[in-house]
Subunit: 244 residues, 3 copies
């Protein structure tokens, strides 16, 4: 049994963020909320999402799994205006998920979740933590797109920097403590593939504060909350380590 | 002789609606207004348009025919802002139609209407009549586009439904008497090709009320008025009848 | 030594106008401003630009040359909002030009200006001078795009006309003395290639008054000021002379 009402903006943020990695996903549904763990086909990045029932306008569920094709859900989102509530309800007789938006009813077949195992999320303890408004990161990503080489993330006790170095040109976004909350005792630096970082940063909604956890030649972890704190997202991206 | 002033929005609605079926058209011009009858190349749909002289800001004409290439008229519409008045005047010496928009003069050669015969419009008496705001139909069309199979229109004494059934998924717009004026004593149902229905519904301007006349495995007729009632449009679409 | 602050809108107008002709350009920098002379690869059109130091928010320079790839500068412009100030500063150690927009720093390698000679700008004395708001010319250009043959510019003591004649259709923008300031004692007329004229007219920002200097089968000269008069632009376009 699963029935819930959700603001279209919340569902849209969820779908946009997950679909930077993968289109067919399994949600693990419990009486007090839903969780998702997903990894992309190349095993470069991983998302963990915990959605408390408070993220929903109404929520009522037993333990179950929902296998969703996110491209189809994007089709439903096109039918809902900003702020509109989308009803989702599993039809017990057919097993299909039924979306209702205003006078429209969309019956969607689910994906078989039998072969879909949750990836194991590594526990990392990273040296630096930086909190930044997503708008700053989005400016930085737009800036490095003109060069489109690997992106370097650096932090020290007094700064955070997102930069990209080409053969002749370079570009960087540098934030001091007036624009970011920075917590590290030493300098740290890792390099990342540009597309993954660009896609996740563009998918995070305006107004979000993102916690960046960083270390030397280690994965970066982006942690942020949506839906007024009721949805927690953790995104882990493997570093690109230069061979010498 | 033909000379008229017309709001760009009215000309735009006319052109958008007719060009869902055909690009080269003949208008029959009379002293009190213009009429058009047009059928698409595949003979699946038909438009009848009656434009009273009151639809124009000014109108002065003798009996004549105007053969127009609607793609060229769309070019003229790009030069006019919303609410701007477009002057149309036939040049008696060259026979060309002269459009004036602000300081711009566009002289357009007409199409020879000699071989263009008006199609015969069938007289139909259909069991159900439903009046719906075009916005509801446009939402329904956006919803069924994710499935893009034949569209079913259904009505009963208490409901009107636009729906589409795929192999595994389905979608429907269902309106009760609070959202539509429904007049039928029995249930009726016909199926239609999706592109035709989508194109005409998208071409009808916001704020229009559309009268849908429907029966069992029969053509559907969409009747609506534009230009404050001075322009009447009737659109007839053949059903898709499933062979068994 | 070169360091200057410039409003993004001013830099954008400069780049848009010059890049209708050429992408790699040389600016001649002096203590009181910058100049540019550029011709397109086909030698059909020429731009001369004089930028007084008053066009900048701040300006400090010694005699030097800056070789810029305008496509890269367009990338910088995407990072700045309207009204935002862009800092440009040459790094004396590397020779690179450093752009700063908010927290973003973009280091750009310059183009070698050794082989880039300034074209010789011909001195012309043309019979007619017409001053027109750029918006009128932009409407005229949109209108002639449906025909896309050579564009004819004509002027007489009482009118200015931009027109285009196709095989069967024609279009014209005609301005009288209420819409343009016209100064000519005789009728003049020249024909021009449509793309060049369309591109420069579209690149000139709204609100600009353009001085058109015209004669019979002679180049046309468009002269206009930007940045409150601190930047003067002169654009010269060769005529298309019909062989008989």
């Amino acid at each position: 049994m699963f029935a819930a009402d959700l603001k279209s903006d919340t569902l849209k943020a969820m779908v946009n963020i997950i679909s930077t990695l993968i289109d067919e996903v399994k949600f693990t549904v419990k009486p007090d909320g839903m969780t998702l763990k997903a990894v992309d086909a190349a095993h470069v990045a991983m998302i963990e999402m915990n959605i408390n029932e408070k993220a929903f306008e109404s929520y009522s569920a037993e333990d179950t799994e929902l296998g969703l094709d996110l491209e189809k859900v994007k089709g439903v989102l096109k039918l809902a205006g900003s702020g509109e509530v989308i009803r989702m309800e599993q039809d017990d007789s057919t097993g299909k998920l039924v979306f209702k938006v205003g006078n429209i009813t969309r019956r969607m077949s689910l994906i078989d979740t039998a072969g879909m195992n949750d990836p194991k999320v590594p526990q990392l303890s990273l040296a630096a933590t930086i909190e930044v408004p997503i708008e700053e990161l989005q400016k930085g990503i737009r800036a490095v797109e003109s060069i489109s080489d690997h992106i370097t993330l650096k932090a020290g006790p007094e700064f955070f920097e997102l930069s990209c170095e080409g053969d002749t040109d370079s570009v960087s976004l540098r934030l001091d403590k007036s624009a970011a909350t920075i917590d590290t005792s030493s300098d740290v630096c890792s390099m990342f593939p540009p597309d993954y970082l660009a896609n996740i940063i563009k998918a995070i909604p305006a107004g979000t504060k993102v916690n960046i956890e960083l270390d030397n030649d280690y994965p970066v972890k982006l942690v942020f909350a949506l839906a007024g704190g009721a949805m927690e997202v953790s995104y882990l991206l493997a570093p690109r380590i230069e061979s010498e």
